[in-house]
């Protein structure tokens, strides 16, 4: 009797698994096909030619290092916030956590406009920074804050989860052994949350490189790679945009796969 019930269950589980696998295949193809087609329909010579193009090389390089700068700034300010959110309860914590994630859900062109209202030449922070010679419109600094704004949630959320997973009593024991709060953070909390923090940094960097909307509003020039792709497409059409797009995808893939391999080295799956 109970055996019968069990075997019916197993059959239906199999059907479910097959259905799920088919649905999964569709979405995987949806993701991989366009990427693969973009990369493989540009011949290696075309890719090489666009690599020789100073503008293309410059744009990719600019994307990489502005996103890196944004990540460094994000890490300096975001990791402490992530730690506070993971460790302390305070009134309005939910609101803070919600606000942190707002950049993910709003259109990034709108985010760019919002940033312009604070960092534009005639606005509060824009004026203040102007005094020390930093200008956010059509400049590297503008690209960096646009990327920072839209990609910081990835770093904070990931680091927060990392810190949460560290047993608070490990920190307590460290204190009783004579470690100050700073020593405890750098010797216990940070090393133990390191994997999540690194993953968050990689996500933030990748998200920064791929940012278009907010950067376009704040700093169309100098051109980062994502804007160059759009610019070529607008000006010259698909054939000219494709090699640049392919290159950008390839560069991102190499970096992303490399960093993941580094972050998860030695970990059994």
């Amino acid at each position: 009797m109970s055996h019968g019930v069990l075997s019916v269950r197993r059959v239906s589980a199999n059907k479910m698994t097959i259905t799920f696998a088919l649905l999964a295949l569709v979405i995987m193809l949806f993701v991989f096909l366009p990427l693969a087609k973009t990369i493989f329909s540009s011949s290696p010579t075309m890719l090489f030619d666009s690599l020789l193009d100073d503008k293309v090389r410059g744009a990719i390089w600019l994307s990489l290092y502005t996103a890196l700068l944004a990540t460094v700034v994000g890490a300096i300010f975001g990791i402490p916030l992530a730690y506070i959110l993971a460790r302390f309860d305070f009134p309005g914590k939910r609101t803070v956590e919600g606000l942190i994630d707002v950049p993910i859900v709003i259109p990034h062109t709108a985010a760019g406009i919002a940033l312009l209202f604070v960092f534009g030449r005639n606005f509060l922070a824009g004026k203040a920074f102007n005094l020390i010679g930093i200008n956010f419109v059509d400049s590297v600094a503008g690209i960096v804050i646009a990327m920072l704004f839209v990609s910081i949630p990835f770093l904070i959320d990931s680091a927060k989860e990392g810190f949460k997973a560290v047993d608070v009593r490990l920190e307590k024991v460290s204190r009783t052994l004579g470690a100050s709060p700073w020593q405890t953070f750098f010797r216990i909390s940070l090393p133990l949350a390191w994997r999540s923090i690194l993953a968050g940094n990689v996500m933030m960097w990748a998200r920064g490189i791929s940012e278009f909307g907010a950067v376009m509003i704040l700093a169309y020039h100098p051109m980062v790679a994502s804007i160059l792709v759009a610019d070529r497409f607008e000006e010259y059409g698909l054939d000219y945009a494709r090699p640049v797009a392919a290159l950008l995808i390839l560069v991102c893939l190499v970096i992303f796969i490399g960093l993941r391999a580094f972050a998860y080295r030695g970990e059994k799956t």
């Binding site: 009593r169 460290s174 009783t176 052994l177 470690a179 020593q183």
Partner: protein, 348 residues
């Protein structure tokens, strides 16, 4: 010497209030209470790891109520070891010593001393994740002792261990305490553990300290229903355990000898569950090794069951159902026989 005066701690749902006790230099002090009584939070408050509402903590004549935990010199050992998972056993043990910036030679000397004390030389290069419970707790002990704390706080250090490791670590704790003469405060919910290790016991419950005294005082003269229930749920005796006949050991308690199954010898304790004792009005013929003759000196009605105090001496507490109680026509001052197996007597 450590003094806790009128300490109040917020536990979210309830309050631990007006906790006052003092622990003498070199004393092994037990805080005994049921799970959820706030024992861990009390220990963390003494170590400076949990904010307190009011009250004072004094250590060797100095007030440390608001001192940072790293300046108190109070070590903590948790139930589930809480070893640093990213560091090797050796790095765990020398963690506090390295922070102090001691010269390498001194660190090595302390490490060797601890490794010898706890007999763990083979573990040094291992990672905490590969250790057994007993091994982990030894490492946690070594780590806590490394900075030579004035007081060692132990949060249910035996509760997560399997029976073999439990006995082993309990033995280690007693040995280390005797050897180093360190002041120790241990919290536990286990009455036997409290009796075996503690000089004095503070029973905690309902948010406050219910009674403080030696195990004998707590057991023989509980001052409240709460303490009585907690302590009297078992028969606990102390006496000398020596060889008996036919592979059994015997323990001398009061006027009688009781057979027990154990490899331990010496001045120890024995416990016996009230429900393991069979009551009869005539001597029973059975395979059980122990059959004692006594007088019912007290009857506690618990509804469907009754607790009888049978004086031999000593006094035994026995559990009978209402049905058998009435069938045998038991009353106070009636003579009865108690029968129980040697294996029901737990020596510790």
């Amino acid at each position: 010497m450590i003094e806790v005066k009128n300490l109040s701690v917020d536990l979210g749902d309830f309050l631990l209030k007006d906790i006052t006790f003092d622990v003498k230099q070199g004393e092994y002090y037990i805080i005994l209470g049921p799970t959820g009584a706030g024992k861990t939070v009390l220990l963390e408050s003494i170590a400076g790891l949990h904010p307190i509402r009011k009250g004072e903590i004094w250590l060797n004549g100095k007030e440390i109520t608001n001192l940072e935990p790293e300046r108190r010199g109070i070590g903590v050992v948790y139930q589930d070891y809480v070893l640093f998972p990213h560091l090797s056993v050796k790095e765990n043990i020398v963690f506090g010593l390295r922070l102090k910036g001691q010269p390498k030679r001194e660190i090595e000397a302390t490490l060797n001393w601890l490794v010898e004390l706890l007999n763990i030389p083979h573990l040094l290069q291992r990672k905490p994740g590969t250790l057994s419970g007993g091994e982990s707790q030894k490492v946690a002990l070594a780590r806590a002792l490394s900075v030579k704390p004035a007081v060692l706080l132990l949060d249910e250090p035996l509760s997560a261990l399997d029976p073999g490791a439990r006995e082993d670590i309990q033995h280690e704790l007693r040995r280390i305490h005797n050897r180093l003469n360190i002041t120790a405060i241990q919290v536990t919910h286990d009455f036997e553990e409290a009796v075996a290790l503690g000089h004095r016991i503070a029973v905690i419950g309902e948010g406050r300290i219910m009674q403080i005294g030696t195990s004998e005082q707590i057991f023989r003269q509980p001052n409240s229903e709460f303490v009585a229930r907690f302590a009297m749920s078992r028969n606990i005796f102390s006496g000398e355990v020596r060889d008996g006949d036919e592979e059994c050991a015997v323990i001398n308690i009061g006027d009688v000898e009781v057979a027990a199954v154990t490899d331990l010898r010496g001045e120890l304790h024995a416990s016996l569950r009230p429900e393991d004792i069979l009551i009869s009005t005539e001597p029973l013929k059975s395979s059980a090794r122990n059959c004692l003759h006594g007088v019912i000196s007290r009857i506690d009605d618990r509804g469907s069951t009754l607790l009888l105090t049978v004086t031999v001496p000593p006094e035994f507490i026995c559990l009978v159902t209402r049905h058998s109680f009435e069938e045998m026509g038991l009353t106070e001052w009636k003579e009865v026989y108690m029968t129980f197996k040697a294996s029901a007597v737990h020596i510790f």
